[in-house]
Symmetry: C2
Subunit: 324 residues, 2 copies
């Protein structure tokens, strides 16, 4: 295959998760041309992790025509610092949990291409802007509703990083001042304690303990209830389960109304497992937003991510590569 | 005086207030070379206002060497829309209260120079970045504590305008969900209802009614108490008055801790009459911020505007001109 040396049609995306590290080689349209993966854990040092990654990448790089066809690499990683290209004190990564790892530099030296790194929620926002429902948008807020609540904020077409690279921690905006739930960050009342998947399960346990109505959820071990259980029950018409989503959506709508006053976004885009609940969660969010927002910001759209769920994180990471 | 035709050393700043419109011709260091003013009201149309403005400007323009020495004009105005250069439905301007006035275009045509316009809090933020304590900063939040609470947010060295030009309405972030005070915007619990000068007076009236401690403030007509009265009493050691500032600062600190999670600013800069209370207000803000903020954002500075109070608004407006 002849290759035009001046055009580099691909980027590598690395979705670095707590369990697996998934690599994809992606073109400008968001088509994944080749994929591979290794375990994230099981390495004693970052050097070993990078060496194993490069070894796994070699065959798929050859498959698309060699390293000359690759413009750059983007990495989405927990505790990723965009400014420094580092992973910092990532609690779930054995080879990075008590140190600062200059991961972007390490990959760049091994592969001989530019590498940029950011946290997973920021990668999702850039992915949405590059390939998803935010194409052409310059001002939007991405909220990732998973085990926690992450966010990526785009203003004027650029991701907001702030003075230290850590802007956009909207999961840790305090939304309940009195008797707020205790958060993993050590504070109380953070959005994440209510509106993450674990927050929804927590709401379920609270409501089952204080509300006497019958519910499908009463057949489950309260300590093992998940947001998926709540979603399934709600779809079956379970009143209590529907109320849990009403409550969750109400808080998200209130929070988005405050976020709007900050950056006047054209859209809020939701990503992650909880969005599978569809209208059950999206309708209460929209209603609550309209009820709480200042008139100037009433026109904001509420959208669900346009990226293919299973590949979204790799696509997001790859999009960080196009930004270099 | 010989003038180098390629260098235009000045900009015009217009601080368009509800009562007076103050014009200044300013150099790049923030020195005001000449000033003039007209009444803002008393005109039946925007055309008349612009004609009177241009007439008042002529002598001071000549004074600095003619229109050839002037690069641009910046306007800070209530309800100013930066994207469109318009004043929109400004409730306190008789010649703009029910229409959209293309004020930037009108001045540009009359004077033959580029003209940009933004709202007063944004102008203050740009002024601070150009001439004040935010010189060299790329990420900070300006909060103007006056009759209301205004804000200008700078991220990556640029003012944040959002999708419609109205980003940065932090005075209307809801900070109290239950029994929040009614706001002029029609909603409840907005920051402005607690932390503006009128909010402080409202707190004074509430506390005097519910707290039995003696206070200098009891000698005043409750309906006429101002934030200045509270400040004077607090400086004299009045316990109740000091508690009012504690309460106000506490709410501001909480709010800033949430704002930090959004844009990770290097500093919060306070401007407006209420900052004259000095440590009485600034210390409670800082204490409350440290108590409520996530660890990532603990290093933010808390500063008072570095612009000369009486000329700050004109300087801010002029700085908008340098941005063109």
């Amino acid at each position: 295959m002849e290759q035009n040396q001046t055009i580099k049609p691909y980027v590598i995306g690395l979705d670095l998760g707590g369990t697996n590290s998934v690599f994809g080689i992606v073109d400008a349209r968001g088509d994944i041309k080749a994929m591979t993966a290794i375990k994230t854990v099981g390495f004693t040092s970052a050097e070993d992790f990078v060496a194993a990654s490069v070894q796994a990448l070699q065959p798929i790089i050859e498959e698309v025509g060699g390293i000359e066809t690759i413009k750059a690499m983007g990495i989405g990683a927990p505790n990723g610092n965009y400014y420094k290209g580092t992973i910092e004190y990532a609690p779930n990564l054995p080879w990075a949990h008590d140190i600062v790892v200059p991961l972007a530099d390490m990959f760049s030296r091994s592969l001989g291409i530019p590498v940029a790194l950011t946290n997973d929620a920021n990668a999702a926002a850039i992915g949405e802007m590059t390939y998803g429902v935010a194409r052409g948008m310059k001002d939007f807020i991405m909220l990732t509703l998973g085990t926690g609540v992450g966010s990526g904020i785009v203003t004027g077409g650029k991701l907001l990083y702030g003075c230290n690279g850590f802007a956009g921690e909207l999961g840790h905006v305090v939304v309940r001042r009195d008797n707020g739930r205790t958060c993993g960050c050590g504070r109380k009342g953070c959005l994440e304690t209510y509106c993450s998947a674990t927050g929804v399960a927590r709401t379920a346990r609270e409501l089952l303990a204080t509300d006497q109505r019958p519910s499908i959820l009463r057949g489950l071990d309260p300590e093992k209830i998940t947001s998926l259980d709540v979603s399934i029950a709600a779809e079956k018409g379970d009143e209590l389960a529907q109320e849990i989503y009403q409550f969750t959506g109400h808080l998200l709508g209130e929070a988005c109304a405050n976020f709007a006053a900050f950056s006047a976004p054209e859209a809020f885009i939701f990503f992650g497992g909880m969005t599978k609940a569809g209208d059950l969660i999206m309708n209460p969010i929209k209603e609550s937003y309209q009820q709480h927002v200042q008139g100037l910001f009433k026109d904001a759209q509420f959208l669900v991510s346009g990226l293919d769920g299973s590949n979204a994180a790799v696509l997001g990471a790859s999009a960080v590569g196009w930004e270099i």
